[in-house]
Amino acid sequence: MKKKVIKEILITAGIASFFLLFLSPIIIAVSGSLREVKDTSSYLKLFQVFSLESYKLAFSKMNYFRSLGNSVIITSVSVIFLLIFCSMAGYAVARLKGRLGGFFQIFFLAGMIISAQMSIIPMYRIVNSLGIGNTAIAPIALYITAALPFTIFLYSNFVKAGVPYALEEAAKIDGASMPYTFVRIVLPLTKPALVSIVITQGVPIWNDFFFGMLFLSSPAQKTLPLTMLNFIGDMENATQWNMLFAACFLSAIPILIVYIFLQRYFVSGLTVGAVKG
């Protein structure tokens, strides 16, 4: 018995040191962010000082609350409309009769190989000709669109496997309309798929800088990743790093908090599509 305990301790220690190495960039950055702004001693001397000076500077340089608000609004609006549109389309794809359903499934799935950089100029022109350039609508519309291929695929597969068609037929016989059936019967049964979509798409939307960089130019519209983009020139400057580290964590803290509280949804959400698909 004792031998087993020692073995477990040894294995745990081995794994812990592996993770220490794996996460060392994050650990050093935490320690660096807690130093005074002008401190340029070696970063490998961990946690020698505790100062919030770098955080204060980064906080004001990032215009933190405004950027945070912009990030929250853009991400939540995108995710809400994505949920509505992809569940409606995914349901239709799953229930369309004959070849049409199969056609639309492939048609949407094919979009996964498209990347925004490929058709950036036409995209830019379409956005401007619709009069939504330089408004938050442009990145929101593109976040939703870019997420549609994967989410429609995931949702329609989930409906096919997890929602018994007999249930919908019974509702129909009882005189329920299709929208009513969808909202009252299908949506509640597909909750795991919806959670999965929020997690797998919400995190990348929150973290994205590309569409924001293209379509949001005024400082008042900037999201957290976009304020980080402003600092990119400071990377060459060795004296700026404590402030940069603080900025990194300021922009990551909201999502780290969400992760700590909703961790089990992250695990289940990320595996809904993959293990079955």
């Binding site: 794994i15 669109t145 695990v267």
Partner: protein, 281 residues
């Protein structure tokens, strides 16, 4: 049918139409302003002679293969570790996913510190163990591409690990038990039982890594800017640079059309081959 409408309108306006338009622009000498002429395949000829096509293709393929191989090895190993029955398992399962939560721009900051010459983590570490050379991983044409790909692996392995972990947990205890009774040691169980049973999960992760690798843009953009020279310029970055920094829209879209066909072809081939092997296994 009406249910499809909102998604269909967005998808066609912002995703399909731009791609078709870029095929069209690829055949012109459009430079953003004024009129433009049809010049047929001249853009492709230019890209071939100029070496842009070959160089960015080569970089993209190297990058994608590196991401697929290292990403899968790393995340499968991580998943096996996290699947062990240990008391501290819960803690490890919380922290392994941290890199995947950070924005690519934040990850780029962290790693440009790690790679920085003199004061960077690797530099300081190497000099503290007595190796005097000062490496500049991002500033050296022979290492910049793989150094960037390594960051991509570090950031994306969390998601792949969760998928592998779910696959490992789906393997029934009886199967592992009977392997043990038949005299398999731990390694043999991994090689002959666990990995074959994960084959469809491996397909998912290889496709994820491959498509992610082909579409790689963020880390090239933030860490190296395609440089030094064009040593780390991938297809997506080359397209972006030609279009946005050099105003060569026609040429950029010709390269985009090429990239589209290339990614489509590779995805179809890889998916077919892996599906067939899966059925054999």
């Amino acid at each position: 049918m009406l249910f499809l409408l909102p998604a269909l309108i967005l998808y066609i306006t912002f995703w399909i139409l731009p791609v078709l338009m870029s095929f069209y622009y690829g055949l012109t000498n459009w430079r953003g302003l004024g009129t433009y002429d049809f010049i047929g395949l001249k853009n492709f000829e230019y890209l071939l002679q100029d070496g842009t096509l070959a160089n960015s293709m080569k970089n993209t393929v190297v990058y994608a293969i590196f991401v697929v191989i290292c990403g899968n090895i790393q995340s499968l190993t991580l998943a096996m570790i996290l699947n062990m029955k240990l008391k501290a398992k819960g803690f490890f399962r919380t922290i392994f996913y941290l890199p995947a939560l950070f924005s690519t721009i934040v990850v780029a900051f962290l790693w440009s510190y790690v790679y920085a010459p003199y004061y960077g983590m690797l530099s300081e570490f190497l000099s503290s163990v007595g190796i005097g050379l000062i490496p500049n991983f991002l500033g050296n044409p022979s290492t910049s591409l793989l150094a960037t790909a390594f960051v991509e692996v570090w950031k994306t392995s969390g998601t792949m690990t969760i998928i592998y972990l779910a696959g490992l947990q789906n393997i029934q205890e009886e199967v592992l038990e009977s392997a043990r009774i038949d005299g398999c040691n731990a390694w043999q169980t991994i090689w002959h039982v666990k990995i074959p049973m994960l084959s469809n999960i491996i397909t998912v992760n290889v496709m994820l890594g491959l498509i992610g690798g082909f579409k790689s843009f963020d880390f090239i953009f933030t860490l190296t800017g395609g440089g030094p020279g064009t040593s780390s310029s991938t297809l997506m970055y080359a397209i972006y640079k030609m279009a946005f920094m050099e105003g060569q829209y026609g040429k950029a879209e010709a390269l985009a059309a090429f990239a589209f066909v290339f990614i489509l072809a590779v995805s179809v081939v890889v998916l077919t081959v892996m599906k067939r092997r899966e059925q054999e296994a």
